[in-house]
Amino acid sequence: MSRILLIEDDHSVRVSLAKALGRYGHDIAAAPTGEEGLRLFVEHSAELVVLDLMLPTMDGFEVCRRIRAAGTVPIVMLTARGDDIDVVSGLESGADDYVVKPVEPRVIDARIRAVLRRGAPDRSGRSTAVYGDLVVDRVSMRVTRAGQDVAMTPTELRLLLELSASPGQVLSRQQLLESVWEHSYLGDSRLVDNGVQRLRAKIEADPAAPVFIQTVRGFGYRFGPV
């Protein structure tokens, strides 16, 4: 039972999707505008937001940025325009995953569950790991840098855990898509690139010259060596 906020301006989509997702056991609050959505977001204390990008007055990207600025609640975007610009802008605004309309509610449910699982404690059994001034606690799911708590979305946290679980080993984008995003088929590698960028912004002293998460050009990413 997860508290989900659905922001969608089209009445029929909002009503039917809320009902269908409700059947998968989620507690749904639905809002027709971005403003109303931001109000409900606090009131409903949502654990995840399903967000349509095309909204009247305040658009989805702005809503996305505000939710991201307020905390680490994950966001799944709904886009109907099908052009790449929407997807890229949505990911840059801080979305964790996206689906293109029309999509069956069971697919959205699967994405929601996958995103929420990322915040669950690590199953590997390892506990605290220290990499220089970066401390990753895999049980309490906390990350500190130089003694300061680093607030992370579940996706960023899982990405860090996957990469740091095998320091020095290169992971391809597809591997990361499968292990972090749980996309079992041809996923969109931009999700990985965007996630890495946001993660670097939080843990690297200089995101332009990363120490922890390094790009292996033409292949994927590697944690360290620190």
């Binding site: 089209d10 029929s12 989509v13 039917s16 999707l17 009902k19 269908a20 059947r23 095309m54 709904l78 109907a80 325009r81 099908g82 052009d83 790449d84 293109v100 309309k101 029309p102 999509v103 069956e104 509610p105 069971r106 080993q169 290169v170 992971l171 391809s172 984008r173 597809q174 591997q175 898509l177 499968e178 088929y185 041809l186 996923g187 590698s189 931009r190 990985v192 690139d193 292996v216 050009r217 033409g218 292949f219 994927g220």
Partner: protein, 512 residues
């Protein structure tokens, strides 16, 4: 330009001496004209000056001889004897000769220079004769005259005494030689001057042409706002103005075209949103209807299944229509990434649930830089088409040929209809069997696949294979040279199921 690109009229005229560069031709022409003009002018002047100099020398020599004769003639006794002749000759100076009938008095080399014609000319007439001769020591002037005697009746007649005088022309020749040197030097001096002038002229003519060429190149490279500044009022300025007009017209129409294209893209994006939103609602509702119908009567279940099925078909048709519109509007950008094509094809088959009906020919990984989504759609269209129209098993093979990767989809059906060519087959809404038209694919699949292949710089072909049914070949260039491969061998770090990871490269090179 390679020689193969030359138009045939140029290939057929090998004139190796003729300079290819316009500058060289202008300079050559200028120098030739300047030399011809200078030589002609100098030669004409020289000839005129020489004639007047020679005439003057001759006239003076003749006057001098006449003066001497008129002074000496009265002193001669008639008939003169040898002694008298010698006296007369001595008064005339060196290089002279005086004759009277059989007697001759001569000094210097005069005798040898006087021709018989001259002697007979003087003997026959009473005329003053001048002749130019050249001997070993240079040009000479020979003057000859008979001495006339005044008779008692007051009439003058030839006395029989003939006087010959040879005058050396060396000083005159020296003068002429000086002039010749001056003329040659002048022409030689004009040559570099002509070259310099030709350079200047060719620059003033060629500089605007070079600028024009440069600007035309820029225009061709897509810089449509390039303009020339016409200077002066000559033909080149006219050309520059024409160029500017052409560029402006081009910029205007390209701008219009881009504007329309942008509008078309926006329209497609809007239509996309308008179409997908209600289908999204339908899809959500149908999922619930389908679940609810499980507890209802068989009739209700059948209706529900039909509704769900039609909704999916509607969604796919809308998707294909939108894809075609996007392709038409030019709103499609290839997002190439380095992938294992064999893996993508396997994923396409697996995610569509076609594992049971399709034989995938096992292969080594085949790396290529392609747009994964478009490859997926293309292969799905081909395999879906084969499953609908052919008979199982549908065989899918990935192989390489030169720098291309080939995806070959073969079915075991009846093959292509005999009366249909590939162009018709790939046309939109073409249905091989019109009776089944209502229930199968959107009719856009092959057309979309063809355009996707072309977007990649590849091709799509279809034929009836010898031992099976229809064979479709999707051919895409691998583009491996675009960037050095750093990720070889394939996925060294991958675990036991490493083969599942197809995608190698997230760095997309966006290609508009």
């Amino acid at each position: 330009m390679r020689s193969g690109d030359l138009p045939s009229w140029r290939r057929n005229r090998p004139r190796s001496w003729w300079p290819r560069s316009l500058r060289a031709r202008v300079i050559l022409a200028f120098v030739v004209v300047a030399m011809v003009a200078a030589t002609a002018a100098s030669a004409a002047g020289y000839v005129a000056a020489r004639a007047s100099l020679v005439d003057e020398t001759q006239r003076r020599a003749a006057d001098s001889l006449r003066g001497q004769i008129s002074r000496l003639a009265p002193e001669v006794e008639y008939p003169p004897d040898q002694e008298a002749l010698e006296r007369l000759r001595t008064s005339l100076g060196e290089d002279s000769m005086v004759t009277f009938e059989g007697l001759t008095a001569a000094s210097g080399g005069a005798l040898g220079l006087i021709s018989d014609e001259m002697r007979s000319a003087v003997a026959e007439g009473d005329r003053f004769t001048v002749q130019r001769v050249v001997d070993d020591s240079g040009p000479k002037l020979v003057l000859a005259t008979p001495i006339l005697r005044t008779d008692v009746d007051g009439r003058q007649r030839a006395s029989g005494v003939e006087v010959y005088v040879v005058q050396d022309l060396a000083p005159t020749q020296a003068q002429l030689d000086r002039w010749t040197r001056i003329v040659v030097l002048t022409i030689a001096g004009a040559l570099p001057l002509a070259v310099v002038l030709a350079l200047l002229v060719s620059r003033s003519v060629l500089r605007p042409i070079q600028r024009l060429g440069h600007s035309a190149n820029q225009l061709a490279a897509g810089n449509l706002s390039i303009r020339l500044t016409p200077s002066g009022r000559d033909e080149l300025a006219d050309l520059a103005t024409t160029f500017n007009r052409t560029a402006a017209a081009l910029e205007r129409s390209v701008g219009e075209l881009r504007h329309r294209e942008a509008e078309a893209r926006r329209f497609v994006a809007d239509v996309s949103h308008e179409l997908r939103t209600p289908i999204m609602a339908l899809t959500s509702i149908m999922e619930m209807v389908e679940a609810d119908a499980r507890d209802r009567s068989p009739d209700d279940r059948e209706m529900a299944t039909m509704a769900v099925d039609r909704t999916r078909k509607l969604a796919r048709l809308a998707e294909d229509l939108l894809e075609v519109s996007r392709l038409d509007a030019g709103a499609v950008a290839l997002r190439r990434e380095l992938v294992d094509v064999a893996h993508v094809v396997a994923d396409t088959v697996r995610t569509r649930g076609w594992d049971g009906d399709v034989d995938l020919v096992p292969t080594e990984p085949v790396l290529a830089r392609v747009d994964v989504r478009r490859l997926d759609i293309s292969v799905a269209n081909l395999v879906g088409n084969a499953l609908r129209h052919g008979s199982p098993p549908v065989v899918v093979e990935v192989r390489t040929e030169a720098d291309d990767v080939l995806v070959v989809v073969t079915d075991h059906g009846p093959g292509l209809p005999a009366d249909v060519d590939a162009e018709q087959l790939f046309a939109r809404f073409f249905k091989a069997d019109s009776a089944r038209a209502a229930s199968d694919g959107s009719g856009l699949g092959l057309s979309i696949t063809l355009v996707n292949a072309q977007l990649h710089g590849g091709s799509l072909s279809a034929r009836t294979s010898e031992d099976a049914g229809a064979e479709f070949v999707l051919r895409l260039p691998r583009h491996l040279e675009a960037e050095p491969l750093e990720a070889e061998p394939l996925e060294p770090e991958a675990g036991p199921d490493g083969g599942r990871h197809g995608r190698q490269d997230g760095e997309s090179d966006e290609q508009p």
